[in-house]
Each structure stands twice: as structure tokens, then as C-alpha cells.
Symmetry: C2
Subunit: 168 residues, 2 copies
Amino acid sequence: MADGVAGPEARELAAEIVRRLTETGQTVAAAESLTGGLVAAALTDVPGSSSAFRGGVVAYATELKASVLGVDCGLLDEHGPVYGPVAAAMAEGVRKRLDATIGLSTTGVAGPGPADGFPPGTVHIAVSLDDDTVVRTMALTGNRDEVRRLAVERALGLLLGRLREERA
Amino acid sequence: MADGVAGPEARELAAEIVRRLTETGQTVAAAESLTGGLVAAALTDVPGSSSAFRGGVVAYATELKASVLGVDCGLLDEHGPVYGPVAAAMAEGVRKRLDATIGLSTTGVAGPGPADGFPPGTVHIAVSLDDDTVVRTMALTGNRDEVRRLAVERALGLLLGRLREERA
């Protein structure tokens, strides 16, 4: 962590996100499962991030996705936490509960073993912004650290992509 | 982040914490301000941490300390977020709201500049366990990254110290 907590890729994405949000007066909140706080850590790594980053919820235990983020229990019971619509509901829930203009979420399997019936590297990320929510599903490869790091980069990348679209 | 997200010191503390909690059936939840998700990230860096780590709240915006963690508004209004009793209330609040047996919290000033009337490195951490809450206040030195990293290590160290006391 000598050069900060995030890798160079995540640092660059986070800095650009904070810059854009600050310029436009938007704010983001993060709901994380497999990334366990790393998305929040990457964003708060940027000096001055407090104007753009509201905060986050690390909902590691599945039931916290319902009790803290408001994800529908039926959805979790039927499909488990590793599911695209759960990522969408997490992003929408954290946006609402933490009173941010944008919600960002991650859920999936970091490894080393499979979980909830899915192999390590199965990851869903979502961004809730304006009147829509986009979910991206991916199969990442690598060990636990690599899967977590890649999931952070993809989540920040998805958010930055949406912010760029908005300005286009 | 090639060797995980936490430095070697935090990794070692986190692994020992997860091992002890798993053995005793206890669980921890984290409420973070200046560390911005790094305490949660260090704990979830440990494979198998899902049995011991419930989740966390990154309450970066001051009002989230009240709305999400239940910290008394009067306390925040009168003293601001960089205050020992706020750290205590954050640890107690996250323990209760995330239904964990232990709450761990951090609040303070990462820098680079002063905030809320305190110089960078002013940090309060707290552990709520059984019927008591311990708060430790410190003046850390270093840049923003170093202050955040040291605060994570001190928070994990305070928790591990309490766990060792319990077993003694």
C-alpha cells in the first residue's frame, strides 16, 4: 500500500471519477460484496473525494443486502447473492439509502473456491444513475486478490463510462 | 495491490482476527470514515472471512454517521465528526445495525489538509465488544496514504488486543 491502496489503473479511474463528479455536483455511493470495501477505498484514496463520495456499505453477509440495502428477500432466496438483478438492487438501494445521485455495486465470487453455485471470478457490477440501471456480468480469471482488484477496476470503469456518456 | 490490498502488517493482523473470531463464533462489523473501506478490505482480504466479517459502512459524509449508523446528531453538531465519543457511537451503531457481536470504527483526518478544525493525522478508533466500548485517540504522522494505512493497522491492532484480553 506504499503508493496508495489502489493499483495504478484504479487510481487513475477514481481520480477521473472524482473530478467529473465534483465538476457536475453529482455524488456516488458504493454497495460492495466481493470487493469488500476496495471500491470505497479507491475513491477515498483521491484527496478531495469527500465532495463526490458519500459513503458505502460493505454487505458481505447476504442478509445485509436485504436489511441494510433493501434488496428484495425473495430475489435473494430464489437466486442467491451472485445474480445480476441483485447487483442492480444493491446499486439502487445504496443510492437511495445514502442519498447519493449515483449508486455503484459489486457482487460475485472472489474465491479461492466456488460459492453460491458459481466459480470464482463470477462477478456482477451495476451503476444506477438518472432513471436507469446498467448491470454488467463477467467471468474474471486469477487468484482471489486478482479477481477482487479486477472487479474494482471494472466497476470504476463502468461508472466512468456512464459519466462520459452523460456528457456526450 | 499485487500482494493483496493491505500491507503485510494489516494482513497479519486481519488473518489473526479472522482466525480468532471464527474459532469463537464471534462476528465483526466496521464503521469507517477516514479509512474509507480499508478496514473492511483488509478483513475481506482473508480467505474464509465471510464467517467472521459481517460487513461495513463507510460513512464518509458526516450526516451518514447519523442516518446510517445512528450517531446522535447533537454530538455531531456540537463536536463534529473527529471526536472520540463519535468513534464510540459509530462502533456501537454498526455493531447493532449489522447485527455483529463486535463493532470497530475509525474517524479522523487523513489529510492532506486539516479538516473540522484538526490537523491531518488526528484519528479516533473504537471497539465495541461485550458490555464495553474502548476508544483510542492518536496523532499519526505521514502523508494521506500513510495516515490511512496506519489508522487501519491501529484499528485492527486495537481489536486484536481486545480479543486477546477476552481469552486471557
